[in-house]
């Protein structure tokens, strides 16, 4: 029993570290589309996979801790607010979406979209301007596309992890 708990702690720590590293890696790449908020969201790869291999509460912890760590380390107060809002919204939606007929890819796409919507919501409140809604079309599409890519990779990983777990 005890070794099982240690195993789990190690797993969660690894997931957080992985997500954190993805965030850092992404911050190094100048993703310059000329439009703010368009990110690859590589760290979400870990969150989506976590959603399918550990409990929801643990996956949520991984997501939140990663956001806090990443924002404090190489972000600023603003990136913390956006990431937190986008991350929580996308997690909540993905958690519910798991129960629907969507595949991992669909869940990830929905998560990507909601992540962007969450971020734009924060921006709209901070700026108290409705004009920011002009960014919605771009962000929706960006969320869909990045979610698709992340989802495809997530599915590959999850399928293999489940297989390894069964054989172990």
């Amino acid at each position: 029993m005890k070794s099982n708990k240690v195993k789990k702690i190690a797993l969660y720590g690894m997931l957080v570290a992985l997500a954190f590293t993805f965030s850092y890696f992404e911050s190094l790449i100048p993703f310059d589309f000329g439009i703010p908020g368009v990110k690859l969201g590589l760290a979400n790869l870990v969150v989506v996979v976590a959603l399918y291999i550990v409990s929801p509460a643990q996956a949520f912890s991984v997501a939140i801790i990663r956001i806090l760590l990443a924002s404090i380390t190489f972000g600023n107060v603003y990136s913390l607010a956006y990431s937190l809002c986008g991350g929580i919204l996308s997690f909540a939606v993905m958690l519910l979406a798991r129960k629907t007929k969507l595949s991992v890819i669909g869940v990830s796409m929905l998560g990507g979209i909601c992540h962007n919507i969450g971020q734009i919501a924060v921006a709209a409140i901070v700026m108290s301007t409705v004009r920011i809604v002009y960014y919605l079309p771009v962000l929706l599409v960006a969320g869909l596309v990045t979610g698709l890519l992340i989802g495809i990779v997530s599915k590959l990983i999850i399928d293999r992890l489940i297989k390894i777990n069964k054989d172990a």
Partner: protein, 123 residues
């Protein structure tokens, strides 16, 4: 990918198209005024067709340099931490905007028709 995934893509595509129509079909394509807002207050309105360079300073002393050239407006320089506004591509159509979140600055392109309805901050 399952069928539900494609349905999701379809729904989002429809929403995006509706949004695009709703946002851009009103007011036409090319605007002719540049409106600069700081903290939701219009601080400056400039014509889009006149080349100009303007430094906007917020109360806290933060600066953004807005440049209008060849019928397009962009932010040349800013002392905000992320410089997203500086990297944003130049805009020229009504409804488009460049936003500097840390400075609460919004540079947008409007039509004369629209600005008439908005309250001028400066007489």
């Amino acid at each position: 990918m399952k069928k539900a995934d494609f349905i999701l893509i379809g729904i989002v595509a429809v929403i995006v198209i509706i949004l695009l129509i709703a946002l851009y079909a009103t007011g036409g394509n090319s605007g002719n005024r540049v409106q600069i807002e700081v903290d939701s207050q219009v601080v400056e309105t400039l014509p889009l067709d006149t080349d100009a360079e303007k430094i906007i300073k917020t109360e806290k002393g933060e600066t953004n340099t807005i440049i209008i050239k060849d019928g397009k407006v962009s932010i040349l320089q800013a002392d905000c931490p992320d410089k997203i506004c500086v990297h944003h591509r130049a805009i020229s159509r009504t409804g488009e905007s460049i936003i500097c979140l840390p400075h609460k600055l919004v540079v947008s392109v409007t039509n004369d028709k629209n600005t008439e309805n908005e309250i001028d901050a400066v007489a």
